[in-house]
Symmetry: C2
Subunit: 347 residues, 2 copies
């Protein structure tokens, strides 16, 4: 005898009563409920996940899908951990658990997702690392699984999303650099078809066009969104016949490798070239300090959680504003790395 039966026998009541007592149903005597709660605490009883999920058709688990492998996301160390912490503060209120669904680099994300969903693993999903074309969206929409994405995609099935405002960052960065007299501005993007690369580069192109400038194709640098990728970008910049006088970095970690690569050639950010990047715990301690765009990751997590729950019938009433799509603003953080202006001291 196990689980709820054990508890019921121990209390000399039926399993139905135990279940009702634990689930806060109305038709149970206050005294009985108290006894049940106490006994459950004492015996360390927690309802079996599988039995409950099987009966209720809901697991109480929300999955955050992400990919393993070292150089995939291009986020800094603590990016996801901070976001998760925000997500959980919301989920905890609804007795929901967040788990990270880890798609191996060996497996196709689409296949992985299909498996997870078919198994009925989670009641809702948050997708990250969205691609330009992302079949996961179609699949989830067809199966009517509640989900949102951190990041957009061309594959639009009407689901809510939250994405960082890379357009805003692109616009502000270009405007700022052009105002300082820069004409040859390099931009970076991930090597793969991650969506953010497209929106970022395209907006940079537009912003330059507004100033009568063209984004030159050989100044668009693709790289792994990692420190090593940043190092390669530095080498590529140094190898240019006509070097750019400024560079805008869309990923968090590449600034580290870029700094090193430039400095090895005696080119110092802020003195010999202007650099604008993304804020991160590391970037904060770069020297010279990185002019960058920052965001509150915990708040982002909270917003992700609320947006997802608003799409789920069971929880929607707590979030009357409804599901939405939202560009998350990036805040400008002044630094020393963009101090260089080509007007004053060409290199």
């Amino acid at each position: 005898m196990k689980g709820i039966h054990l508890l019921a026998k121990h209390l000399n009541v039926s399993i139905g009563t135990v279940s009702r007592a634990l689930n806060g149903k109305p038709d149970v005597n206050a005294e009985t409920r108290k006894r049940v709660l106490e006994a459950a605490e004492e015996l360390g009883y927690v309802p079996n996940q599988s039995g409950r999920a099987l009966r209720k058709g809901a697991t109480g688990v929300i999955g955050f899908m992400m990919q393993t492998g070292s150089e995939i996301t291009g986020h800094g160390d603590t990016f996801f951990m901070s976001v998760f912490d925000g997500v959980q503060t919301v989920f905890a209120r609804h007795k929901l658990d967040l788990v990270a669904l880890l798609c191996s680099s060996q497996e196709d994300p689409y296949d992985y997702l299909r498996r997870i969903v078919a198994r009925g693993f989670a009641d809702g999903l948050i997708l990250s690392s969205t691609r330009r074309i992302d079949h996961r969206f179609d699949f989830l929409a067809k199966r009517k699984i509640p989900f949102i994405s951190l990041g957009r995609s061309l594959t639009d099935v009407g689901q809510p999303w939250i994405d960082l405002d890379f357009e805003g960052m692109a616009q502000a960065s270009i405007d700022r650099l052009v105002a300082k007299g820069h004409r040859r501005i390099a931009v970076t993007r991930p090597h793969d078809d991650t969506n953010l690369g497209y929106v970022f580069v395209e907006r940079c192109r537009e912003a330059l066009a507004n100033h009568g400038l063209a984004l030159e194709e050989d100044l668009i640098f693709r790289s792994m969104p990692s420190e090593a990728g940043g190092y390669q970008i530095a080498r590529a910049i140094l190898a240019c016949e006509e070097r750019p006088t400024a560079v805008v970095l869309v990923n968090e970690t590449i600034a580290i490798g870029l700094y090193r690569g430039l400095e090895e050639a005696g080119v110092k950010p802020g003195r010999d070239i202007a650099v604008i990047g993304r804020h991160s715990p590391h970037a904060r301690f770069l020297s010279p300090s990185l002019t960058s765009f920052s965001l509150n990751l915990r708040d982002l997590g909270i917003s992700l959680a609320e947006t997802l729950l608003a799409t789920m019938p069971l929880y929607a009433e707590s979030y009357p504003q409804g599901p939405s799509r939202r560009l998350w603003p990036l805040d400008f953080v002044p630094g020393e790395s963009d101090a260089f202006s080509p007007k004053q001291q060409p290199y």
Copy 2:
């Protein structure tokens, strides 16, 4: 009609036959099996997780417990992502799925674990961020849940573990620095009761004693295992009446903040003070390059997976070497940051 019943009706066989065919049981006709497999593929059928888990008493899920929040582990995202990738290559062979169980910084890890285990969420667990005293170990042992830990603890219940060889790193670092003439050597440790702090500091103490030196208490720096923590350590070092001539960093990320903090005071690692730390994707691009200790994270993940499976009856036969405890060696990576020797050029 759903799930296996649908598939069975579609094929005009019984659900028992479908189940047997999909699970590779012997008593099913080869032709029938082929039809079932094809139909399952076509209809995208995957057994429901809850039903299967309920019946089999096993979920096919292995949980890796970790804590969310930004400054907890002192590892980067990339640390765990790389380890996970190794773990999954092994698990994939057994059709096991790895999920990260994310304990919020708001919740007590012990309570969280109890909930997860009681719900029967995972068949096995890998614990990280082990504490000096860690009640999770007792609990899992009492419940006879298969688990291992990445990291040791004083709370020893006989479970297998893999831990990084911080003793070896301490020994080698101290020996190296003393040989270079250093006498005042600072060491770092996490601010909390993470186990690694104890073993690391104690071994440093022993290693110094072997050279007739004492580890001075005011040269043991506690900090968050983060970049910000490293910055604080730099400030503290600079504030010493009699500055240490060398410092050994046990966590990965603190070198970044330390470098910045020192450089702000004109103290350059490698020229004015010797620094030895841990290798990481960032550390690789620090300038001057960090003399450090490194490891192959993917291999560590593979070893973790194999060690866990060896403790699980269902899978143990594939891993005849049995469960074990293992200190994972850290490889010395030469760099420039420990070039300074107090004999030649005191600062």
